[in-house]
């Protein structure tokens, strides 16, 4: 195994995640490099979503250590969690948009939470919404959008803060092929700008062979795609 520690943005050391007696992840050790394009695949219940949750501290590890951008998130205190999450752009399978806020407000929330100035927020949000083709709908509420449009907004929200890492959980799971292609094109674009992309998916057709690494999970264990 090559020591990739200096270039790794995420490092997992013997990570276990248990729900009661059941292991969701079992002894996972993995390095993810800066600007890497990583697909985490496996059947339902393999542990893909759990892995992403551990990375954004949606869940705590049962055993082991996780380093994200040099910070040991297994030992992070409550106040450090928002700081960690601002380094990440998260795309959820169910979009997780606030239904009572407009498209603009949903995307702007990330920058507001980070304490950015209103003028900068407006400029940045408009720019990102233009990129994902949602500038015309920025006053719309999420329930009035199609699934593909909602996912574009979710992508805009994930990238508006210029995160180092983008975590995407089944980003095309409920989309038709055309919408899925648009979302993946956005992610490719952000990857080309230097972001590390981690996509959890069971859809093998999404995998960019040759340019991406694939980690395959089965019952919480890693079957392939070990540390570089």
């Amino acid at each position: 195994m090559v020591d990739s520690g200096n270039n790794a943005i995420i490092r997992l050391f013997h990570v276990h995640k248990r729900y009661g007696a059941k292991f969701a992840l079992h002894d996972l050790t993995l390095d993810i490099l800066k600007n890497e394009y990583l697909f985490v695949t496996g059947a339902s219940g393999a542990g893909k979503t759990t892995l992403l949750k551990l990375l954004y501290l949606g869940e705590a590890v049962s055993e082991g250590q996780i380093l994200v951008d040099g910070v040991n998130i297994s030992r992070i205190n409550r106040r450090g969690i928002p700081q960690l999450r601002r380094k990440l752009g998260i795309i959820f399978q169910d979009y997780k948009l606030i239904p009572t806020k407009t498209v603009y407000e949903n995307v702007a929330l990330v920058l507001e939470a980070a304490g950015r100035k209103p003028r900068l927020i407006e400029k940045k949000v408009r720019s990102v919404l233009r990129t994902v083709g949602m500038e015309d709908r920025m006053k719309s509420l999420p329930p009035g959008l199609s699934g593909g449009e909602q996912q574009r907004v979710a992508v805009a929200r994930a990238v508006v803060g210029d995160p180092k890492i983008i975590l995407a959980d089944e980003p095309t799971g409920s989309l038709d092929a055309e919408s899925a292609g648009v979302i993946m094109a956005f992610l490719d674009d952000f990857h080309s700008r230097g972001a590390t992309i981690i996509i959890a998916t069971h859809d093998k057709s999404l995998i960019r062979t040759g340019e991406a690494r694939v980690v395959r999970l089965h019952d919480g264990r890693q079957l392939s795609g070990s540390s570089i």
Binding site: R79, R85, K96, L97, I98, T100, A113
Partner: protein, 292 residues
């Protein structure tokens, strides 16, 4: 901060029903508690006025000679706490009574003999106008050989003061009860808003919002509710006060007794108290909610 205010106002408008219920309850609580306070302030003022007018009537024995009367006056004025002792003759006493009982003056005219005793009207120094001093003075004056009886309004003033004290105690209890009830109501209103928006709060956390960022608009919301409720409560009380005093002034010639409203300073303090109650209610529910 402007952004937080905007979010708080938006939340209030989106949860109009809950906010209205909360504001009305705060207004009622503040109104009732403040009405009690107003009663105590005015009752205390009346007691003070009465205490200022406290005097003793020292009735002399029927057979007291001129020399005995002069001696009594001398001795009365020598007692610590006595400001002045004014002699009231039998004649002056009956004339005074006739003035007071104008409709029954004929009855008094028909009396063969003036039954009223000679007396001294004893005015007291401010330091002696309390129940303990009064009792002590009365005891000393009664011990004088020429004195038949000492009469003063101490007993009913004491009774009135006791009633006021009882009301005050009840007022403190009720005030504390309303304070807790108001905090509880604001806490529950905010809690309901928090639960109705728990998904939104969860999303905010996931995109990197700090607890402070999430909490501030709720605190502002609680403080606005508290302040608004207090203003409405005080306004209702002021309207009640104005209509009562108009009625009171028409029915009673009250140069001595005038009902007063809170000073601007106390109004400001009550308003601030309402804001603090709103904040406290918010703090209680956020403390519980943010742990989850």
């Amino acid at each position: 901060m402007r952004r937080f205010y905007q979010r708080a106002i938006k939340d209030i408008l989106e949860n109009r029903f809950l906010t209205t219920v909360s504001v009305i309850t705060i207004a009622l609580s503040i109104m009732i508690a403040a009405a009690f306070a107003l009663f105590f302030i005015n009752a205390g003022e009346i007691v003070n006025l009465w205490q200022k007018g406290i005097r003793m009537m020292v009735y002399l024995k029927p057979d007291t000679s001129e020399a005995g009367r002069l001696d009594t006056k001398y001795r009365l004025q020598g007692i610590a706490g006595v400001q002045e002792a004014r002699f009231i003759s039998k004649k002056e006493a009956i004339e005074k009574l006739k003035t007071q009982m104008q409709h029954h003056a004929a009855l008094l005219d028909n009396l063969k003999e003036n039954p009223l005793p000679e007396a001294f009207e004893v005015y007291l120094q401010p330091s002696a106008r309390n129940s303990d001093e009064l009792a002590f003075l009365a005891e000393r004056i009664t011990a004088l050989s020429t004195v038949e009886e000492v009469e003063y309004g101490q007993q009913w003033i004491q009774r009135f003061t006791n009633i006021i004290s009882l009301f005050r105690l009840a007022g403190y209890g009720i005030g504390a009860l309303f304070f807790m009830a108001t905090v509880f109501i604001v806490a529950n209103t905010i809690r309901l808003v928090l639960y109705s928006r728990r998904d939104e709060i969860e999303i905010m956390r996931l995109v990197g919002a700090t607890d402070r960022f999430i909490k501030i608009p709720f605190y502002l919301q609680g403080m606005i509710q508290g302040g608004l409720g207090t203003l409405i409560g005080l306004l209702i009380l002021l309207i009640g006060y104005l209509s009562l005093t108009t009625h009171f002034n028409q029915s009673v010639s009250s140069d001595l007794i005038s009902i007063q409203f809170f000073s601007e300073f106390i109004c400001a303090a009550i308003f601030l108290g309402g804001v603090v109650v709103g904040w406290l209610g918010c703090w209680v529910s956020l403390k519980q909610f943010m742990k989850t």
